[in-house]
Symmetry: none
DNA sequence: TATGAATGAGCATTCATTCAT
DNA sequence: TATGAATGAATGCTCATTCAT
């Protein structure tokens, strides 16, 4: 099933079309996007969807994994950049932009998380930890904030903006700014609860 | 139809059981909670659900309205309280506690919002505006933050905490603290986008 | 249940209201008229409907019986009238007028026919037999037509007219005229099949 | 959607089974026939019904269309036949035979009539008009009878016969004969109401 | 291998009928 | 006695998944 043998050229093309279509459909309708709709958008048969991914959940997981991997890759470049605080902010900006296109919060529906997705997610968590540690050491963010905090807060700007009745396409930037201000050392008040452990 | 004639004793009891069951089920599964499940949780027949609420949407709207009304009522008391900043923070605390029990974000699915719910929501928005104005005038929060911002941010602590794999029951307090720090004047950076207009 | 003890005054009034409402509702929606609708039209509770008639079928049967009885009563007067042919035609006219208000064909749905209805129907059949015999003997209708034929044909004008897209309120008279011409001796061709036996 | 691409062999077989089952079920229970029952009679799954016809109404419309088309095709042959009066009578005979198997009167429930059905129906109406005109010009039927009259009367023999408690399979022939006698010029009395306009 | 036809569990909703008030 | 609240079987329809072509 999930052997990593290289796909035939047309199969690879179909897989790409399928993932793109699925990303679009999941972005629009969340988990309620129908397999039939996704197949139609991809211009392939419904059966072919299931040839590539044994369940709809697996398809969603693959979409998520791709997005997480892309974000992680972008983050890897930032982790070496000059200003640690700016690097973290830039990473969160990229994350929000990515989420603008496709909400990752479906991930909470536990059944979605298969092993390969978990691996990608962990890799991203580790990267975020590094970005946060660097920023903290540089004094760009408050001392009592952890990588796990940032992981959880990452989706908030997108979600908050999405609540607006007719959100402008950049509204999330407003809330990212507010939340990032909350992460800065200036004027920080003590946090009342211990940070969570991820994983 | 919607006359507010007092219900028979048993009907009132069923209505309460139903709303409690619905609150629980919607909290767990969002709009995907099934009417059959809700009826079973309430220990009543499926048909009885529809006697009380003509559609599932109406049931959800009623659940939401109850919660919004309770929150608004609590807020009305705070709006006259001593410290404007503390009052706003207390309101947001109550909101997050309430959301802990039942996520309001389903409200985004537009079809849910019937007229009575819209009225309740507007009343709450007006209250929040007053709380925010007072806090702003008192210098407890930054000048560039509006009531609409707070409305949108209100659910964020709950959502952020819910992303954690095994969130402690008070984890949201941590993120409310961070976000509220982001609303304080100290160390505020300029906001890049105009605030949204609600309604 | 169906004891013939005289009803209390208000119960009798309710029964009359109920029958009128039911006649109206059945005329509009046939057997699909809902008990709730009928009760509402009558201004009484749904439970009261079932106190008067144990099932919806029984209610329909009662409506039918009333109409059949009224028609039979009118026919009794005609059976002694001067011109036998005119009397039969007049009876069929009354029948069609009555059907204009409420289609009797639901009667075909066998479950509807309870005993009391059957009695009323038989009484009407006997009357029709007499009207037909008289008309036949007077040469007003052809010799090979029986009372049973007329019983079956009785509803046809109303049905035929009802098929028209926007039937005028008197269209059935056109088809009654045609069918009655078919019953006249003039130009009659032999009938290919034996007449049915009623009951 | 409605492309007329040839169906796969098994799909075509299922479609035929489905239409036959639907014809039977609609004949027995009218529009109240349940989709589940139809599917069971056809020996296919409920979902398959909806794959072939998006709604129950569409299924009924298809059944009707098939019958109307078959009848129209048969009529086309008659319209060129020798004796115009015999041709019309033969057509009405075919129509009644066809109705014996499946009552067309459900067509009155307006929602059933989709566009393709309307086209088929209009085609049949035009054909009937031609048959009637020819018969009228030949003096086989009275001068004051129109195509629309015949359209409306077409179902009457079947309906009338169906009212009989245990109708013989040929009873309708008796009433077709009577009604057709009513259409003949011999002994015709003037018609009291204008003919309807179809469509 | 790709397709889309078939499947059936699941869903929201209706309604005749029963029963507590 | 009259009411209308409660019930649950039944209905039309959807959709992830399986399987014959």
């Amino acid at each position: 099933m999930t052997t990593d043998r290289p796909l035939r050229a047309d199969a690879a093309r179909n897989r790409a079309l399928l993932l793109a279509a699925a990303e679009e459909a999941f972005a629009e309708h969340g988990m309620d996007a129908s397999v039939a709709d996704i197949a139609a958008r991809a211009g392939i048969g419904k059966g072919t969807v299931f040839r590539h991914f044994p369940t709809k959940d697996d398809l969603l997981a693959a979409v998520m994994r791709d997005r997480i991997d892309a974000l992680t890759a972008a983050g890897e470049r930032l982790v070496e950049a000059g200003d640690p605080g700016a690097a973290l902010l830039e990473f969160l900006t990229l994350a929000a932009e990515s989420q603008q296109r496709n909400d990752m919060s479906v991930l909470q529906e536990a059944h979605v998380v298969n092993e390969r997705l978990a691996v990608a997610r962990t890799r991203m968590f580790v990267l975020i930890e590094r970005l946060v540690d660097r920023a903290r050491r540089a004094g760009a963010i408050r001392a009592d904030v952890t990588g796990a905090d940032v992981v959880l807060l990452m989706c908030a700007p997108g979600h908050v903006a999405a609540f607006a009745p007719r959100p402008g396409p950049d509204l999330w930037r407003r809330y990212l700014a507010i939340i990032f201000d909350g992460l800065r050392p200036a004027g920080a008040t003590p946090l009342p609860v211990d940070p969570p452990r991820m994983g």
